[in-house]
């Protein structure tokens, strides 16, 4: 709690995303209670918490899937509270999914091109007429898609159907697709689920590369503490719908409430070695 207050006093850095006093109620159940949260430009921040802490619900508010009961969400300077998901996506918020959700019967390249929808203009008539503008747009889109696929390291499987890619390549394709939105913020929902430690380590490097080369802020939801501690600059911890801590990995590691939330007060089960 104290760490949260410290950050609000610091001179405000330019923010990519900001959520203020988010509360979400489902009927009588409060899933998230008065959580505020910022993502500074070009930073890598993580959202962690035990199962059922409200991470995914909070995530869904950011992406516009749920409207918050109270509170507001800003992307850059713009208030995006209550906008439809596709509008928020078009304004620069991209995400990947915990359970991979690619367009299985489309090729890798097509998957990436779909995400450029909001940056393309051609409608029914231009497409049917193959106007010069439409052809240029398609050609340029294809080039960008290829570059993105190269960037995530799966350029060679560009023409394969997404369903035929290996698990790791599917995860990479999801990132490439998200980057095609030209986002300000990239939300990664448990990206290392199902990866072994070597793959996770490579993934940490990859997240840094995304941030450095594409100038994108990254928000991570993650269970693997070794990944979280290595990749994040700041960590926010949710427990039972409330923010219980916020700060650098070192702060979080030593925060009594976080340890209690994960281990229970007696500290006899689960997560011991990681937290």
């Amino acid at each position: 709690m104290t760490t949260a207050e410290v950050t609000t006093e610091a001179p405000a850095p330019p923010l990519s995303m900001r959520a203020e006093g988010i509360t979400i109620k489902f009927g009588g159940l409060t899933a998230v209670r008065n959580v505020s949260f910022t993502i500074p430009k070009g930073s890598i921040v993580s959202l962690i918490g035990p199962n059922g802490a409200g991470k995914t619900t909070f995530f869904n508010v950011l992406t516009g899937l749920y409207s918050p009961t109270f509170g507001r969400v800003y992307l850059g300077e713009r208030d995006v509270t209550g906008l439809a998901p596709h509008r928020i996506a078009g304004l620069g918020l991209a995400r990947t999914f915990q359970n991979i959700r690619l367009f299985n019967l489309m090729t890798a390249e097509e998957n990436v091109l779909v995400a450029m929808h909001s940056h393309m203009r051609s409608g029914v008539f231009r497409t049917v007429l193959h106007s010069g503008q439409q052809r240029r747009e398609e050609r340029e889109g294809r080039e960008v898609a290829r570059e993105l696929l190269e960037f995530v390291g799966i350029g060679r499987v560009r023409d394969e159907y997404a369903r035929n890619l290996s698990y790791g390549d599917q995860r990479r394709l999801e990132v490439a697709r998200a980057l095609a939105l030209q986002p300000q913020v990239l939300l990664l929902d448990e990206p290392t689920a199902g990866m072994n430690p070597q793959e996770s380590a490579r993934f940490v490097d990859f997240v840094h590369r995304v941030r450095d080369e594409q100038q994108i802020a990254v928000l991570l939801i993650e269970h693997d503490m070794s990944v979280v501690m290595r990749v994040s600059e700041r960590i926010t911890v949710l427990d039972q719908g409330e923010k219980i801590a916020e700060g650098s990995p070192a702060d979080i590691r030593n925060d009594q409430r976080v340890v209690e939330a994960y281990l229970g007060k007696t500290g006899t089960e689960g997560y011991g070695s990681d937290a």
Partner: protein, 405 residues
């Protein structure tokens, strides 16, 4: 696995190039045969062709194919199950009847029209102008009908479209007296329609200035062109931004919206384009039957069109074309002819054409059992139905490993 996907897309690309040529050649041959050859053949051959494949049946097949290709945009491309497509067929037909006939005799308008002598009152707009008007009017109604209904998902959408498919023909049936204004002539329907003008082409030898009810060979050219137009639009629109968005919605709506695809607008676009092609089919159908009546737009038509799409290969225009041609031929001629031959051969008196829905139903069940992807499936769908997903296979592998441990 990797090579098979690539190989599949390459062969489908080759097929895409050769199929238009094949169908064009076929159309030209049919035209030449009926126009120049058939009349010179011996009488038994003429009778045989007239019985089994009269040109009116071919024309009817082409119009059904145009409609099926339009429905394919909604069902096959965007994955929206529409059980009321006949509504747009009806709207297109009535547009043609309104502005191509002497029906509104209180007015006298002629815009490059081809009014029959003695029937100059009413609104007479040139057929070639009626086509875009009908298409635009249907697209407009597609958006009006789609805006509330497309918010629904799968089964619910199907039910509501079914409702609209029933409502629209009922509206026409009952709009013979709207506060004293005769909008649709009630159950009697509207006829006759103006003939199709050929414009500058009537300068060619043998081409009449207006295509009346008996100029079937030239009408064949007209309907062939309309069908080709529907196919052209379908193929073009598939490969661009909109086509990809439809596919994405068909695959995973939530993911598509998270990738910036506006669901409502994109679905409405599919509905509007489908409706516009339905309108073109409707206008053409009205000129073929030389009139419209509310009885010709029945729920069964929506289902037959859907059967054509499914049988032919959902999502693949060429498959849908083949499916439509075959089914409509069976429905209009094949079955009745087979019945006549069967009855004369065995001395029975079974009325085969009344069993058409039984046969279609059985056909669909057989297809679902043995070739779910349709006659000429889309390369993508064939993938799903014939090859297990890599993830599934690997999960099986993991399970086996699990039991070994």
């Amino acid at each position: 696995m990797a090579t098979s996907a690539r190989g599949g897309s390459r062969s489908s690309l080759q097929r895409m190039r050769s199929l238009p040529v094949l169908f064009t050649v076929l159309a030209v041959l049919i035209f030449i045969f009926y126009q120049f050859i058939l009349g010179n053949l011996v009488q038994p051959v003429q009778d045989f062709v007239g019985g089994w494949l009269p040109l009116t049946a071919v024309n009817q097949c082409l119009i059904w194919a145009t409609l099926a290709v339009g429905l394919n945009i909604v069902v096959g491309y965007a994955g929206l199950l529409d059980l009321g497509y006949v509504a747009f067929w009806a709207i297109g037909g009535y547009v043609a009847a309104w502005i191509m006939s002497p029906f509104f005799s209180q007015w006298k308008v002629n815009i490059f029209g081809s009014a029959l002598p003695g029937l100059e009152t009413g609104i007479h707009v040139n057929f070639w102008l009626v086509l875009p008007i009908g298409a635009a009017f249907c697209a407009f109604w597609g958006i009006i009908i789609g805006a509330p209904t497309l918010r629904l998902k799968s089964d619910y959408l199907a039910l509501v479209t079914l409702g609209f498919g029933e409502i629209i023909p009922e509206v026409f049936r009952n709009a013979g007296d709207v506060n004293g204004f005769n909008l649709s002539n009630g159950t009697k329907g509207i006829d006759p329609l103006d003939p199709i003008p050929t414009g500058p082409f009537h300068l060619l030898p043998g081409v009449p200035a207006n295509l009346g009810p008996f100029d079937n060979t030239y009408k064949f050219v007209v309907y062939g062109l309309l069908c080709a137009f529907a196919i052209f639009v379908s193929l073009r629109i598939r490969v661009g931004r909109l086509g990809r968005a439809w596919l994405a919605i068909r695959e995973d709506e939530l993911a598509a919206s998270m990738m910036g695809v506006p669901l409502m607008r994109t679905k409405l676009a599919a509905y509007a384009v489908g409706a516009a092609l339905g309108g073109i089919g409707g206008v053409a159908y009205a000129t073929l039957t030389n009139g419209v009546s509310p009885d010709s737009f029945q729920f069964a038509n929506s289902i037959i069109l859907l059967a054509m799409v499914v049988l032919g290969g959902m999502g693949n225009v060429w498959g849908v074309l083949v499916g439509a041609l075959i089914l409509e031929w069976i429905n209009s001629t094949g079955l009745a002819q087979f019945g006549t031959s069967f009855n004369t051969a065995f001395g029975t008196s079974i009325e085969f054409s009344s069993y058409n829905f039984l046969i279609f139903g059985a056909l669909l069940i057989i297809m679902m059992l043995f070739r779910r992807e349709g006659l000429l499936p889309e390369a993508r769908t064939r993938q799903v139905l014939q090859e297990p997903e890599r993830g599934e296979l690997e999960a099986v592998g993991a399970d086996l490993e699990g039991t070994a441990v």
